[in-house]
């Protein structure tokens, strides 16, 4: 066992390390993403301040050593608020991606593997959903479901279901018509075995990469909806809300919009870079 680990796992790990170290952009993205995740899980690691209580004397101070991102109109430390906001924003993002992946993936799998009228129905619905821009679809869902972070997250996820269903179906069809599946069928493997052992493992790769890519898109959508005021109610910090709050002070306190927005952009950029690396590795795999 020990030798197995030494000969198989270690070189693989070393290979990954080399892959990352040769790409400084990717390394930076991984660090950024890890920091945001840590901030979401353990905000106490980064700051001891309270995100909701400020010191009125210190309102609207610019960035300084004491207040990295400055303070807002109530004298609250903006850095603290951004750190605490990442928890809610990331949770919403994960919910959105999970909804899109699970619902869309299942629809695509069923549609592609069983075909027939079921496939027709699913694909026509997907066609229609794809004719409506995703942001508008989530806006429509929000106006039906009501406001709040979770509802926004579900709306964003549902709006992406169509894309996932389509990619999953295409992958299932590709694998299902591949020669190795025909070979398995010709050597007597039943449908269930083919679905579980050949189709699902080979088809899920691109869909998982798409989920990684969806992560960045979901952060943008969730924060756009909360910027528009459909997310968490006021005192609760959320990335989009922070930018919206700072909007009234654009002319006087530039830091209030710049820093939260920068964090969103950097997180999305990191997520996209990581998903691109996953995509690339997958292609090299073949």
């Amino acid at each position: 066992m020990a030798t197995g680990f030494a000969t198989e796992v270690l070189p693989a790990a070393r290979g990954h390390a080399r892959f990352v170290l040769r790409r400084p952009g990717l390394l930076l993205s991984l660090v950024m993403f890890a920091l945001v995740l840590l901030a979401a899980l353990f905000p106490g690691l980064f700051t001891d301040d309270d995100p909701l209580v400020g010191t009125p004397r210190e309102k609207l101070r610019g960035p300084s050593a004491e207040h990295l991102f400055g303070t807002d109109q109530l004298g609250r430390d903006l850095f603290t608020r951004v750190v605490h906001a990442s928890s809610l924003s990331l949770r919403a993002t994960f919910v959105a991606v999970a909804v899109a992946l699970v619902v869309g993936g299942l629809l695509g799998l069923v549609s592609g593997f069983f075909g027939g009228w079921l496939d027709d129905v699913v694909m026509r619905v997907v066609d229609v959903l794809q004719a409506i821009p995703r942001l508008l679809l989530s806006l429509a869902l929000v106006s039906a479901l009501g406001f709040g972070t979770t509802k926004v997250a579900i709306a964003v996820g549902v709006a992406s279901v169509a894309g996932f269903a389509r990619v999953m179906r295409a992958e299932v069809l590709r694998v299902r018509s591949s020669v190795y599946v025909e070979a398995a069928r010709a050597s007597g493997v039943r449908s269930g075995g083919i679905l579980a052992r050949h189709v699902l493992p080979n088809a899920s790769g691109p869909v998982l990469v798409m989920a990684a890519l969806e992560f960045g898109i979901a952060i943008l959508s969730v924060s756009a909806l909360s910027f528009l005021g459909f997310g968490a109610p006021p005192p609760t910090p959320e990335w989009g809300v922070l930018v919206a709050d700072g909007r009234n002070f654009v002319a006087t306190a530039w830091w209030l919009t710049t820093f939260p927005g920068l964090v969103i952009a950097a997180t999305v950029l990191s997520a996209n870079r990581i998903s691109r690396a996953l995509d690339g590795e997958r292609r090299q795999d073949r």
Binding site: G25, Q130, L139, A140, S143, A224, G229, G261
Partner: protein, 310 residues
């Protein structure tokens, strides 16, 4: 050709009908019964009888399929219902707001295609590795920026620090520049990404090698051989990009306090004005369908492999 056109038009109508149906299901059937929304502030003061009276007058007591049939019939005659906020007809309100938004999205689309296409072409044409790397990383950055943040940054720098262009409003051409730029950034990034990728693919095709073996120069190879083939996948994206630009105006018009479809939509969602939201959904579907139709009709001209008569 005519039969093809008729068939494509029919398909477009079917998509619109389906969009109507989907939005009807989403907006009118999901839990938050639209009645309570319609009554708005009345809720606290209204008596049971009053509520029932309003319900009856709005046809909300009818079985759902009857409501659907009524709504569809009205929609076919151009009546998309009345706005719950203003009481004005939805169709008229949208038509009034449309020119402002079309001006904005039109300018944005032009900027996106020119800018995105330019970046993609420059990136694939240059022989300087460093420049290519920089150019190729631009689209990835472009699609990662939240639109509302970009808009606010532009306002901060261009309007307040430099005092150059207005930060808000609909007055004159100056007011279009910043919002159009904000809208064009993600759209242009998308164009650049797709075009750069398909240019790279096209340049690696064997027919490009044939052209090089003939002794053709780089400009000729890029523009006459690769670009023509590479623009085809980019073209199929036109419908998606124009739909996105239209809807991104919700954010951008809010940031720049411009009147238009986007502001209308934001207000409608805020007030849960479902009739208005459905109207905007139908508008977006219409834009998508029309652009897709134009692309489909244009495609055989650009790609001879797609049969004209089919």
């Amino acid at each position: 050709m005519r039969r093809y056109l008729v068939r494509r038009l029919l398909q477009a109508v079917v998509v619109l009908w389906a969009a109507f149906t989907v939005s009807f299901i989403v907006l009118f059937l999901l839990p938050g019964d639209s009645l309570s929304i319609k009554l708005g502030g009345l809720e606290g003061t209204a008596t049971r009888e009053q509520i029932d009276a309003v319900r009856g007058a709005n046809g909300l007591d009818d079985p759902i399929h009857v409501q659907y049939a009524h709504a569809l019939g009205d929609a076919l005659t151009g009546d998309l219902g009345t706005s719950a906020q203003t009481g004005a007809p939805v169709a008229g309100t949208i038509v009034d707001a449309l020119p402002q938004t079309l001006q904005l999205t039109g300018v944005a689309m032009v900027l996106a295609v020119l800018g995105g296409g330019g970046v993609a072409l420059a990136a694939t044409f240059t022989r300087l590795r460093a420049l290519r790397q920089v150019l190729l990383s631009l689209p990835a950055i472009g699609i990662s920026m939240p639109g509302f943040w970009v808009g606010l940054l532009l306002v901060q720098v261009v309007s307040f620090q430099w005092g150059l262009l207005p930060a808000m409003g609909n007055e004159g051409w100056e007011s279009v520049v910043l919002p159009a730029l904000t809208l064009a950034l993600p759209a242009g990034a998308m164009v650049a990404q797709v075009l750069a990728k398909s240019m790279t693919t096209a340049l690696a095709e064997p027919y490009v090698e044939t052209a090089r073996a003939k002794g053709a120069g780089r400009v000729r190879i890029h523009l006459r051989h690769a670009l023509r083939n590479a623009s085809l996948p980019a073209l199929t994206l036109a419908a998606v990009v124009s739909g996105n630009v239209l809807v991104e105006s919700v954010v951008v018009e809010t940031v720049f306090s411009r009147a238009g479809i986007g502001r209308l939509t934001a207000a409608a969602v805020d007030n849960q004005d479902v009739a208005m939201v459905q109207g905007v959904v139908l508008l977006a579907a219409l834009v998508f369908v029309l652009v897709a139709l134009v692309v489909d009709l244009l495609y055989p001209v650009l790609d001879p492999r797609v049969g004209r008569a089919v």
